[in-house]
C-alpha cells in the first residue's frame, strides 16, 4: 500500500501540504481534544458533581445526636516534596436508619477542608456534645452521613467550562473534518452555512453587495467632509503602536503592583523574602520602561497635529478623476509633507507555527508634496489636489488571506519630532462597472439525478 505524499502540488512561491496528511493530523488533534474533554468531564462529573447531586436528591433526612467531635486531616505531598495539610471538622453521630440505630463519623466534600487549622477548630467549637442536629444519610450505604447539603457552584462551573471547551473545540473540529471528508474543495466552498459557523476565522471579509471579493466601503463614507463630500477615516500604524505600548505598560505594572504588595506585606510582618525582592527589581525596571515608552508614543501621537483627508466621491471608479483635500493641523515646521496614492498587495501565510503577513506597494503616484512648510495653530495647511485611478487598474480585492487595497498615504517629517505615516484607505471598483447594477445569479447545484440548476 502506498502512503500519501507529505507534499502536494506547488502553488506560487510555496509548496502546499498533502491534503490527506493534513486531514489526518487535523482529525487526530481534534479527536485528542474531544477525548480529553470527555475524559475530564466524566472524571469531574463522577468525582464532584454526581456525589453532590446524590447528597441533594437521594440522601434521606434524619435527626442525629453528637457523640464525639474531631478534626479530619488530609495530607497531600506535591511533586516538589512539600507536605500540605488541610482540616475539616467532623462529628460522630448517632442517628436512626429505618428503625435501627446507626453511629458514624460525618463526611463532607473536600471543598469544606481548610488549610487554617485554627479556623477549623473554631468551626468545631460551634458544635456541642450531646446536641441534636439534622443530618442526611445515604440509603445505599447508611454509614455515610453528612451535615450539610447544597451545591458548590464554582465546582459545577469548573466541571462544565473546562471539559466543555475541550469538547466544543474538538467536536466542532471533528465535525468540520468529517464534513470535508471525500468532498472536493469546490463542493465545500459552494456549500457555506455550517462551515462558517464551525470555522468563523477562515471566512473571507464582507464583500460589497453584487461585487464578490470587493470590500464593503460603508465605514469609509459615514463622515461628511467640510469642503468635499466625505472625510476619509484614518488608519494610523502609530495609533496601534500606542495602544500596544499602553496595554503592555498596564498589564506589566499590574504584575509589579501585585509583587510589590506581597513584598510590602512581608516587610510589615517582619520577614524579608530576598528572592521576591530580587525578582521585583528587574520587573520594576521593565515596568518603568513601559510607562516611558507609552508616554513618549502618546506625546508623539498628540504633538503632531491631526491630518484630515476629504474626497469628492466614493467608491472610486478607474478612469475617473476625484478631488482630494489634504488638511494638516498642529504647530511647527515640516521638512517634508507628501500625499501619495498607492496600491498595496497584502498576503497572509503560515510559516511553521507562525502566521505572517507581507505587504508590498506595487504602484504609487505622488499627489501633492511640500518642503519646509510651517503650520500654525490658527491656520492649518490646506491643499486641494486631484487623483485619477488608471483606467485599467486592479480593483480593491479582499479574501481570507489575500488583499489588494488602494490607499492615500500622508507622510511627514516634522523638524522637532520623528517622521510619521498616516494611511487613508479607499475602495476602488472594477473598471467602468455600474455601481448600482447587480451581477448575474450565482448558481450552486447539487442534484442527484441530472443537471438541473437552482437559481436563487
Amino acid at each position: 500500500m502506498r502512503l500519501p505524499r507529505l507534499y502536494a502540488k506547488k502553488r506560487g512561491h510555496r509548496r502546499t501540504g498533502a491534503r490527506e496528511w493534513g486531514a489526518f493530523g487535523d482529525g487526530l488533534f481534534h479527536g485528542i481534544l474531544l477525548a480529553a474533554g470527555l475524559f475530564f468531564g466524566a472524571l469531574l462529573l463522577s468525582g464532584v458533581a454526581a456525589p453532590e447531586w446524590r447528597i441533594n436528591h437521594e440522601f434521606r433526612e434524619s435527626r442525629g445526636t453528637v457523640l464525639a467531635k474531631g478534626l479530619a486531616r488530609t495530607t497531600v505531598v506535591d511533586p516538589t516534596g512539600t507536605v500540605l495539610s488541610s482540616w475539616r471538622p467532623c462529628l460522630l453521630l448517632r442517628y436512626s436508619v429505618d428503625e435501627t440505630v446507626q453511629e458514624s463519623w460525618s463526611h463532607g466534600p473536600a471543598s469544606q477542608n481548610t488549610s487554617d487549622r485554627a479556623a477549623a477548630l473554631r468551626r468545631l467549637a460551634a458544635w456541642t456534645l450531646g446536641a441534636e442536629t439534622i443530618c442526611w444519610y445515604d440509603p445505599a450505604a447508611p454509614q455515610t452521613v453528612v451535615l450539610q447539603r447544597g451545591y458548590n457552584w464554582w465546582l459545577w462551573l469548573l466541571s462544565l467550562l473546562l471539559p466543555g471547551a475541550l469538547v466544543l473545540i474538538g467536536g466542532s473540529g471533528l465535525v468540520r473534518g468529517l464534513r470535508a471528508w471525500g468532498r472536493s474543495e469546490e463542493y465545500r466552498a459552494s456549500s457555506a452555512g455550517l462551515s462558517e459557523m464551525l470555522d468563523p476565522l477562515a471566512q473571507p471579509a464582507l464583500a460589497a453587495p453584487g461585487y464578490p471579493a470587493v470590500p464593503v466601503w460603508d465605514d469609509l463614507v459615514n463622515s461628511p467632509g467640510t469642503l468635499l463630500r466625505y472625510r476619509l477615516p484614518i488608519e494610523s500604524p502609530e495609533n496601534w503602536t500606542l495602544v500596544g505600548f499602553g496595554l503592555f505598560a498596564l498589564l506589566w505594572n499590574a504584575v509589579v503592583v501585585v509583587l510589590a504588595v506581597g513584598a510590602g506585606l512581608d516587610l510589615l510582618g517582619g520577614r524579608i523574602d530576598w528572592w521576591l525582592f530580587a525578582l521585583l527589581v528587574p520587573f520594576l525596571g521593565v515596568g518603568i520602561g513601559g510607562i516611558v515608552l507609552f508616554v513618549r508614543s502618546l506625546v508623539f501621537a498628540t504633538a503632531i497635529g491631526p491630518t484630515q483627508l476629504e474626497i469628492s466621491d466614493h467608491p472610486l471608479i478607474p478612469g475617473r478623476r476625484y478631488d482630494v483635500l489634504l488638511a494638516q493641523g498642529g504647530t511647527g515646521t515640516f521638512q517634508t509633507l507628501t500625499l501619495t496614492l498607492e496600491l498595496e498587495e497584502q498576503a497572509t501565510f503560515r510559516q511553521g507555527t507562525d502566521t505572517r503577513t507581507e505587504h508590498l506597494v506595487v504602484w504609487k503616484q505622488p499627489v501633492a508634496g511640500f518642503r519646509d512648510v510651517t503650520v500654525a495653530a490658527d491656520a492649518r495647511l490646506e491643499n486641494r489636489a486631484s487623483i485619477e485611478i488608471p483606467a485599467n487598474a486592479m480593483h480593491s480585492f479582499t479574501s481570507a488571506h489575500n488583499t489588494v487595497r488602494w490607499r492615500l498615504v500622508v507622510r511627514g517629517s516634522p523638524t522637532r519630532w520623528p517622521a510619521f505615516c498616516r494611511t487613508f484607505p479607499v475602495v476602488v471598483f472594477p473598471p467602468e462597472a455600474p455601481v448600482t447594477s447587480r451581477p448575474a445569479a450565482v448558481v450552486a447545484t447539487h442534484d442527484g439525478s441530472g443537471s438541473a440548476e437552482l437559481s436563487p
Partner: protein, 142 residues
C-alpha cells in the same frame, strides 16, 4: 488477468472548449463551456462536478470563491454512456483576473471526476476576466 484493484489507475483526459475567443471574457459576460472526457477505459464514474471559480495564487494561503457549481450523479450523463457535456453561466462583475507580485487572482473551469474506486481526477482550465495588465514593482524597488 489482473484484478481491478491491482490495475494501474487510468489517466483520463478532459478537453474543454470555451465559447469566448482566447478564453477572454468581460465582467458580466456569459461563459459557455463544452467538454469531452476521454481515456476512462471503462472505470466506473460515480459523479462529475463542474465548477467555475476564482482562486488566489502567490505568497499568501490560497483562497477560493466558487461562482458556479453543479454535481451530477446520474450515470446516464457520464462515460461510458455520455462522454460530452456542456454548461454555461453568467460571469460576475468581480473579482477580475489579476497578475500581481505577491497576490494573483485566477479564474478557471474545473471538471472533477469521482471514480467508484474512491479516487478523483480534476481537470482545470484557466480563463481570463477583464483586461488588467500585470503589476510591476515601482522603480524604487527594482
Amino acid at each position: 488477468m489482473n484484478k481491478p484493484s491491482e490495475r494501474a489507475p487510468v489517466m483520463p483526459r478532459i478537453d474543454v472548449q470555451f465559447d469566448g475567443p482566447h478564453r477572454q471574457y468581460e465582467p458580466g459576460d456569459r461563459l459557455g463551456v463544452e467538454y469531452r472526457i476521454e481515456g476512462c477505459d471503462g472505470e466506473p464514474i460515480r459523479a462529475i462536478e463542474h465548477s467555475v471559480l476564482w482562486y488566489t495564487e502567490g505568497k499568501g494561503e490560497e483562497d477560493l470563491g466558487v461562482h458556479f457549481f453543479r454535481r451530477t450523479t446520474d450515470r446516464s450523463m457520464m462515460p461510458p454512456t455520455k462522454k460530452t457535456g456542456a454548461f454555461s453561466t453568467a460571469l460576475p462583475l468581480s473579482p477580475l483576473t489579476y497578475e500581481g507580485v505577491i497576490v494573483k487572482v485566477r479564474w478557471c473551469v474545473r471538471v472533477r471526476l469521482f471514480f467508484d474506486a474512491s479516487r478523483d481526477f480534476v481537470s482545470e482550465h484557466v480563463f481570463v476576466i477583464g483586461r488588467i495588465p500585470p503589476a510591476r514593482l515601482p522603480p524604487s524597488r527594482t
